[in-house]
Symmetry: none
Subunit: 209 residues, 2 copies
């Protein structure tokens, strides 16, 4: 059963959403406030919501600040940001602050309902445009530092190291001798300017290869 709280400063939208959600089965919306402060007041007495829909731009405390506080006090509440911002910075701020979903405001009421259900099932509702930005973010970070040019074979060795294998096991996995593994590792160290397995693993997992 989803108990939804709403924080939205536009009175019409707020009331419309609350009414709509209360009409759904397996869902209720006992509270809808216009700012974070009011919601905190409410929660301190009735901490019943398990989902919060909230705007980013709000009178008083901003949605992102508010989310951080709510997350800390009520870690079981999942938060969906519902906003007009396409701005990557705001999106990532929200996600880092602990949002479980991020929807654009033109999202229809039935879609919002779907999003809440998705969240209850362990998914993360996200508008496709948002998902796109998030993915692009990964691409950027990934390509940014992609300058070391390990050969395929060397990458195989690195993968073995990352998997925690010993030289011997890497040799077995690749069907080559342990001395060959050593030779490759020496070359890898040279290319990456490191001198231990640990540094190679760290670089690899940080996406610096």
């Amino acid at each position: 059963m989803a108990q939804v709280g709403i924080i939205e400063d536009n009175k019409k939208i707020r009331q419309l959403m609350q009414r709509y959600l209360n009409m759904q089965k397996d869902m209720s919306c006992p509270v809808a406030t216009e700012c974070v402060e009011d919601m905190l007041d409410y929660l301190s007495t009735y901490p019943n919501p398990n989902v919060l829909l909230m705007d980013i731009q709000l009178p008083g405390m901003s949605g992102i600040e508010g989310m951080k506080i709510i997350q800390q006090k009520y870690p079981d509440i999942e938060i969906i940001m519902l906003t007009v911002y396409h701005d990557s910075h705001k999106i990532f701020e929200s996600l880092k602050a602990g949002a479980s979903g991020y929807l654009l405001k033109h999202t229809s009421l039935p879609e919002i309902k779907d999003a809440i259900e998705l969240l209850m099932q362990g998914g993360a509702p996200m508008s496709p445009q948002i998902a796109r930005k998030v993915i692009t973010h990964f691409n950027y970070r990934g390509q940014k530092k992609q300058k070391s040019n390990l050969t395929n074979r060397e990458q195989d060795i690195v993968n073995g190291l990352v998997d925690g294998l010993s030289y011997k096991l890497i040799a077995d996995r690749l069907n080559i001798s342990i001395d060959t593994v050593r030779a490759h590792i020496r070359n890898i160290y040279k290319k990456l300017h490191v001198n231990s397995k640990a540094e190679v693993i760290a670089k690899s997992l940080r996406g610096e290869l």
Copy 2:
């Protein structure tokens, strides 16, 4: 008009998907291969697809390696990974390598069709479970302290290992004896059920502590 290519080693699935996509309007699937190599052959002659659906686990070159190559040669092709893996590492590898979407394999044919349409409109198709992992990933980076069964001191040691330090250097850094470092590491291995430095570093950097 979406021109879709498929790389999938299971013949039944491959043919089913191809037939289904060819039945859709505004969509065609001129090619479906069982491995990356075959697709590269095809593309070198007919570089018509603008979307690729591909598995991660494939005979020959892995999907992730394959994607990197295809992305480099044909940067206009958008790629949707279609796989059984829930594994965070694989997901992020794929996204970093340039995937535009990531769907779990139980996704139905109509949902795959929707995903392709979404992609054409500039969105990023992602299974909700995947989106959840991606978002969780952001949370990690935002927060510093995870729930860790390791004691503070043990965490200090792990940090040293991640930095690529030898036991001796860790001992120096923490002003304790090398034997103490050893003792801590033994306890860490026990707690994490691992038996090598490499695995500890990997776990740590994946945020699994």
